[in-house]
């Protein structure tokens, strides 16, 4: 099971829906669309030989300068049987940051998606309990977005002059 084999198989099945394929540091990375992501995950999960059945991680990345593709949701998958890892990315616009949930495939996707929602505001459609997880409930912004600087701008109890700013 090599990067080439997996890519060719996915390309046969999904065609143009799989694009932007590269291998940074030997790690197969490909991009798909949010319409196809669950099908791709499901296909890899139930594939006879690949058996990509372990979800390592789901996380978000923000690229504010990519108009129309501001957010990326990154899935790290692992086939324990073949010891093969791959990374799937989905780019979604900031105006409509919605992507279907993967909780139907893995129970572990639940909190990973909640964390991604909590920090980036990416909405996972169909998620059973999409609430904030690490931050408090009444927070009204998504702190990992690049427009929020490190220092909490909502605080009024800090005098910048005293901190040399």
């Amino acid at each position: 099971m090599t990067n080439q084999e997996v890519f060719e198989d996915l390309n046969n099945r999904f065609g143009d829906a799989i694009f932007d394929v590269h291998e940074p540091y030997g790690f197969l990375t490909l991009t798909t669309t949010r319409e196809n992501i669950i099908d791709v995950l499901q296909y890899l999960y139930s594939h006879q030989t690949f058996q990509v059945q372990f979800l390592t991680d789901i996380t978000g990345v923000q690229y504010p300068e990519l108009a129309g593709n501001e957010f990326a949701v990154v899935y790290h998958l692992h086939s324990l049987v073949n010891n093969f890892r791959l990374r799937i990315k989905v780019f979604i616009p900031a105006a409509d940051p919605v992507i279907p949930t993967a909780t139907g495939l893995w129970a572990s996707a639940n909190w990973m998606e909640r964390e991604t929602f909590d920090f980036f505001g990416i909405v996972f459609r169909g998620h059973p309990n999409l609430m904030r997880i690490l931050n408090m409930e009444d927070m009204d912004y998504f702190p990992m977005r690049k427009e929020y600087p490190l220092e909490d701008q909502t605080r009024r109890d800090k005098d910048d002059a005293k901190f040399g700013r």
């Binding site: 940074p24 390592t56 324990l80 990374r87 893995w106 690490l134």
Partner: protein, 418 residues
Amino acid sequence: MSDIQVTPDIKPVRTETGVKVDVGQALPEYVNELTTLNLGPTHPATHGIFQNILQMDGEKIVSGVPTIGYIHRAFEKLAEHRPFYQITPLTDRMNYCSSPINNMGWHMTAEKLLGIEVPKRAQYIRVIMMELARISDHLICNSILGVDTGAFTGFLYLFQEREKIYDIYEELCGTRLTTNMGRIGGMERDFNDRAEAKLRKFLKDFPAVMKEFEGMFNRNRIFMDRTVDVGPLTPERALSYGFTGPNLRAAGVDYDVRVMNPYSSYEDFDFDIPVGHNGDTYDRFMVRNEEIWQSLRIIQQALDKLPKGPYYADAPEYYLPPKKEVYRSMEALIYHFKIIMGEIDAPAGEVYHCVEGGNGELGFYLISDGGRAPYRLHFRRPCFIYYQAYPEMVVGTTLSDAIVILSSLNVIAGELDA
């Protein structure tokens, strides 16, 4: 004798299989009422700051809702504003029971991105320190599991040994708990004679203590009654919940990053991966115990085969020059300044690197855009991912079992919340 009736009027019915209580209609309202119990956030048995809101039907747990994030410190956000070498102290504070593993994991991730080849000696020293960290992590988990089942002695015995591990850390990095050990490119100190003497003494003395500990617990009737078949998980559920590490191996899946994707020369060593049968609390305990023995085996091999040579890579842009050099040579001074001020641009790239942490696959997903700090750094924290199985594991058990299950999962609050 008073004739106030305190129990509802329920008549037990004797059947062939035992006594049956007919809980039909005539129950007073308070009997059907559930009790809400806040387990945590600061409860001595949770060993960390996190809360579980349990609905209790008498002693039985009907549902559990975990609340986490009490010690969330925004490490991922902080990491986007720091040069690479300043991220190491952040990783310390994730799984603080085995910080060297976190440190080395981060160093290896950075080295992968930067393309630095670490000399064999440094890799072996790393293996020794990581395995010591694994031992100290498992010691804490297992001895505290003993405390939660009412046996304090094992905890006292083993904590003495943990101190000795911390003494060895001290020789290599100067600190004990949050170690900040090693650097990008190698170790900051060589493995010296004092450290070796301490390590050899530890390897000589520790097995006897460990045997004593196992003698106290492994076939202890009370301990087995409390742990066998408590909180079992099938391998399918465990994999679906993203379990890794000892908790997954207790369920019978032999997945270990050290074997699957060897890093830092783990392929040079001969060791076994223990697995359990039922994935219950007892199996988790036994798997951790056996892993301690295997770690000792690895340390012994690494110590015997420790190669000679440099203990850091030739990577002047990332590895701080020796202090002596900084005072004498211009080049070293410049590099020292550049590194400390964080003025070195890392190459652009995307890396995922994982190590076998104390609790499972600890992953670092690093995106660099060619700047001085990571563009995005995500920690795949094993605790965070498998703790979501906790409600499923405790429903239907009693409160005392829930405490034992929590303890055997080894949930570390720092890693849970990052």
